[in-house]
């Protein structure tokens, strides 16, 4: 049986792997993000 401490670490590790997999899937595979440009003329004014 795992101790509570080990359980916390394992759960957190799983969560971290899952979130890294999510950013990989979203940004690298799906390229799901928006591009943003600031109107340079506005900035210059």
């Amino acid at each position: 049986m795992m101790s509570p401490k080990q359980l916390i670490i394992v759960l957190f590790l799983l969560l971290t792997i899952l979130s890294i997999a999510s950013i990989y899937y979203r940004y690298i595979i799906l390229e799901d993000f928006e591009y943003e440009t600031v109107d340079i003329s506005e900035v210059e004014m």
Binding site: S3, K5, I8, Y24, F33, Y35, E36
Partner: protein
């Protein structure tokens, strides 16, 4: 890369990247190298430390912090070098994920360094709980909103969660300070241990301060220029602190670390030249230097390792020896105590036996039949012999325990020796021996010593001579040497004599002459040992001389003259 971005990349003249991070996009060598140097300093050290003892919690946390920092550094390098927005999006998110974890690992390192115990489940759970929003919402626009292409920037627009991450960093930094104060208030450690812990904490705090300043300045000013990158140098500072601890206080219990660390960093730096220098000759020199460094480094590390192993072996043996010595001393003391107690217990009944038997023979309890007189006399003699033996054992235990008391007074040695000779003459006559007393003293023969002990020594020496002489004479001769302020008492007999081997050990405990048993069956072998120790305690000495077996012996007591 989608066609639109490809067009933007061409318009902005973004160079492609090899291995994700080697490209011409990096703005100048200082920024480029600022990512590699801290990793080069810290990662080899972390690997060596964890390889030494991977079960040690302190080593584990240090390795975790450095490992996460190294991934962070390379991810940051990729952001600088890579032109692809999707790669930048991924690694920027990764950076934001790693930052709180670097803080958590540094906190764990400091906590273990200070309190030398496992962190409690509550603290660990709390740390993970406050960092969990960063992990859970990592892939959402709360973390990164969009990719900013304005002015050919290759940057992202960060979401509100990044600022939450900075709050976590602040909380953890404050916790490090708080726990350091708790440690300082509650610790019972020595000054050196305290200093070591504080230096470790200081190094960690400086790292955290550098690290935060770089990121926070970047996020707040939204300017990712050169300034935020100086935050990277927090890690070499922490490593420098740790290197100091390793050499000064042998932290991590890795004494060889400095040598290994130097050699491996040197090797990696030389290899680094291969990537930045394109001139073939320089590359060749770099390869040759690397080979030489590896060979010399290996020799150096091996010799240090051998030295350390020998030193540790010697330390272990010395420790064992010390323990054995203490044990031996304890046992010797116990033995002396036992002998002392046992002898005291024996002395009283023996004195009673001897006393009552004497009284019986003297007729104090009525007429004793003549047939009984001889057996009773034997009882008296045996009891006296036994009492003498017990007295010897008691004297030995007193000498060894340092409990022998000496009462120093001035007295005339000539007179004392003469009296003893008079007392023992009858005893000598019983054995048909002549006991002669002679003196040739220029001074008065006054000595300052314990009169009782001196009497005991001379009595013992003359008695020995009587015991070991079957025929002839025993001459007791007192003479002095005024010039050297010494007085001598020679006891010369015509007895069984001694071989050179017997003479060598005659003053040792339980030593008796080779032929002692043929002449005198009684005796403990302690008399001369006790006499010698007593003489030494009174600044004198006893020496023995014999020309060989059957040639008689001469014992000389030497004492300082009191003028």
């Amino acid at each position: 890369m989608n066609p639109l971005i490809k067009e933007v990349a061409e318009f902005c003249e973004w160079a492609p990247a090899t291995f994700l991070f080697i490209s011409k996009n990096v703005e100048g060598p200082l920024i480029y190298y600022s990512h590699i140097v801290p990793v080069l300093f810290s990662l080899p050290l972390a690997f060596i430390i964890i390889a030494r003892d991977y079960k040690n919690r302190l080593n584990q946390y240090f390795f975790l912090a450095v490992f996460l920092f190294s991934i962070w550094s390379f991810s940051d390098l990729i952001l600088w070098a890579n032109p692809d927005p999707k790669i930048i999006m991924f690694f920027w998110s990764l950076l934001n994920l790693l930052e709180p974890f670097i803080y958590v690992s540094i906190f764990l390192f400091v906590y273990t360094l200070l309190f030398k115990k496992e962190i409690s489940t509550v603290i660990l759970a709390s740390l993970f709980l406050i960092t969990s929003p960063v992990v859970i919402f990592l892939a959402t626009s709360l973390e990164i909103e969009s990719f900013n292409l304005t002015n050919c920037w290759r940057e992202v627009t960060e979401g509100p969660l990044v600022f939450y991450s900075y709050i976590i960093q602040l909380i953890i930094s404050l916790l490090v300070i708080l726990f350091t104060f708790i440690y300082l208030k509650s610790t019972t450690e020595t000054k050196a241990q305290k200093r070591m812990s504080i230096i470790g904490v200081l190094g960690s705090l400086l790292f955290l301060a550098f690290f935060s300043s770089g990121n926070i300045i970047g996020s707040i000013t939204e300017s990712w220029g050169v300034a935020p990158l100086y935050g990277l140098f927090g890690m070499p500072i922490m490593v420098a602190f740790l290197a100091f601890l390793i050499t000064k206080y042998r932290m991590f219990k890795v004494q060889m670390l400095t040598a290994q660390f130097l050699v491996s960093t040197l090797g990696i730096l030389i290899i680094g030249i291969l990537f930045v220098q394109t001139v073939e000759r320089v590359r060749l020199i770099a390869i040759l230097t690397f080979i030489l460094t590896v060979i010399l480094g290996t020799v150096l590390i091996r010799s240090i390792k051998r030295d350390l192993e020998q030193k540790s072996e010697i330390e272990k043996l010395a420790h064992k020896l010390e323990k054995a010595n203490v044990r031996l001393q304890q046992m010797d003391k116990l033995k002396s105590e036992f002998v002392s107690i046992a002898s005291h217990q024996l002395r009283s009944p023996i004195t009673a036996i001897s006393g009552y038997a004497s009284l019986m023979n003297e007729g104090s309890y009525g007429e004793v039949p003549s047939k009984m007189k001889e057996p009773i006399e034997r009882i008296v003699q045996s009891a006296r012999m036994m009492a003498t033996s017990i007295e010897d054992y008691l004297n030995v235990s007193r000498i060894e325990a340092g409990n022998m008391k000496y009462n120093f007074t001035d007295f005339n040695l000539n007179d004392e020796v003469e009296h003893i000779c008079d007392d023992l003459r009858a005893e000598a006559l019983k054995r048909s021996l002549v006991l002669l007393f002679r003196k040739r003293v220029d001074g008065q023969g006054i000595v300052k010593a314990d009169i009782g002990k001196v009497q005991q020594i001379i009595h013992n020496l003359i008695n020995n001579s009587i015991k070991y002489t079957q025929k002839g004479a025993i001459t007791v001769y007192v003479h002095d040497d005024i010039k050297n302020k010494k007085v001598f008492v020679d006891i010369i007999d015509t007895g069984i004599g001694m071989s050179a081997e017997t003479l060598a050990g005659i003053f040792q405990k339980f030593e008796r002459g080779d032929k002692a048993n043929t002449v005198n069956v009684t005796g403990t072998g302690l008399g001369l040992y006790v006499a010698q120790k007593m003489a030494e305690a009174m600044s004198g000495t006893i020496s023995a001389h014999s020309d060989g077996e059957g040639q008689g012996s001469r014992f000389t007591l030497e004492l300082p003259l009191f003028l």
